[in-house]
Symmetry: C2
DNA sequence: TATCAGTCGATACACCGTATCACCCGTGGC
DNA sequence: GCCACGGGTGATACGGTGTATCGACTGATA
């Protein structure tokens, strides 16, 4: 058998070897582009030019893949700052920023126990930054900030999607849901809510997030200095 | 034709006519029993002794069914109390209680815009109870409490499921994940986190939820009385 | 060179949400 | 009283999902 009968095909370069990292990265790219629903094992495998079953040599289940995706994003979430307040604020802002870059994170945050290396490293940064605060306060404070961030980011991304789905900007959104809400409010069933929506401030997403976070940090601060 | 020729068949009573309410109720029962994954249009239809396509005469899509389920649960969430603090606390506790009775609520909360009648009625109760608080504070305060509740409930239910999945009680959970965490902590990569887990308080779910909620309400109170 | 072990992926299964459309039944018109 | 029609119903179908199974091929070893 002659050597040149099996030349290295130049237009089909030898693929990089499969790995957890390549799989997770491909899944993240799919999710970033088309949302979490676009992440199926078949599509991830296809993006890697591989049969679907091949992935099971690297991950046990789809849930594990989702967990790995979350942990991969946590690589970008490294709270820093001087003092507990800056650290907790940094944690919140970094998580929110990550969710802006990867909207699907909002669907996954808080939905599974996260014990991956990057998540733990993020936790380590927070724990280290709480130096001086007594543990009896630090533990519930961290838990509270985490809970707030999960919920706030979830609501924010949900609202963003709703706006995007029905037209583009907030004005069009009001045109879409406005009639329905106007009709509801016109019935007079919800007078206080109507007043609140009508006369209340129309904060943007940034201000809303920070206002809530400030409430929480103020409350924590009051406990610490007590 | 004689009257008794068509008696009411006693063992096959005429089925109640189909309705949104009956569909939603059946779906909630399925979700309560076996989780959200057990809610498929086919199973809901089967529970109602009906073909799957029949449901599309009452709901447009599965997402709409999920929205209706959430709104139905909001019928139980009617915050009451004297003064903004009691009202917000009542909102939080009632939502948490509902999630305890319907764990799937934790998966849905905050994941879709909720404009159903019961959700709006709940919002009305909150808005009405905030009387006296200036709107510039009330709006972000309500948003913050909602965000906190969504995240806190999500984390709590997630943890409860993890415990239930790996044995039964907290001790068994520690035996399941303990070795992994011990090995991680033994590497010394996460000293601060390790200290926090080791020497920190081990609050139960009730205390954790209330501690975070108190932080938030304290912070809101500081703003109101300023 | 022959055998074997192990990896890989094609195929299969059960299930999903939902589009389509033939059928059947009840009703109105003749 | 009979028939044609129209609309609601639900069987069937389609394209997708996660994953179990298992035959075939590959590479290494005796």
């Amino acid at each position: 058998m002659l050597v040149w009968e099996r030349p290295e095909p130049p237009d089909r370069p030898v693929p990089a070897p499969l790995s957890r990292e390549r799989i997770v990265h491909a899944a993240i790219r799919l999710a970033d582009a088309d949302g979490l629903d676009a992440v199926s094992l078949r599509k991830v495998a296809a993006a890697l030019d591989v049969g679907p079953m091949r992935l099971y040599g690297y991950i046990a289940t789809k849930e594990e893949l989702l967990d790995l995706m979350v942990d991969a994003v946590y690589a970008e979430i490294r709270p820093t700052g001087d003092g507990w307040r800056e650290v907790l604020r940094s944690l919140a802002e970094a998580t929110r920023k990550a969710a802006h870059q990867h909207e699907w994170l909002a669907d996954l945050l808080g939905g599974r126990p996260q014990l991956g290396p990057n998540t733990l490293a993020s936790g380590e940064s927070v724990a280290a930054g709480m130096g001086g605060v007594d543990l009896g306060t630090a533990v519930p404070a961290i838990a509270a900030v985490n809970a707030y961030v999960i919920g706030a980011v979830r609501r924010e991304i949900t609202e963003r999607r709703a706006e995007r789905a029905s037209g583009m900007n907030r004005e069009q959104w009001q045109n879409a849901f406005g009639p329905y809400l106007l009709r509801i409010f016109a019935t007079g069933q919800f007078p206080a809510l109507s007043t609140l929506v009508h006369d209340g401030p129309h904060l943007d997403a940034d201000d809303t997030f920070r206002a809530g976070l400030d409430f929480l940090l103020d409350g924590i601060g009051a406990r610490i200095s007590r």
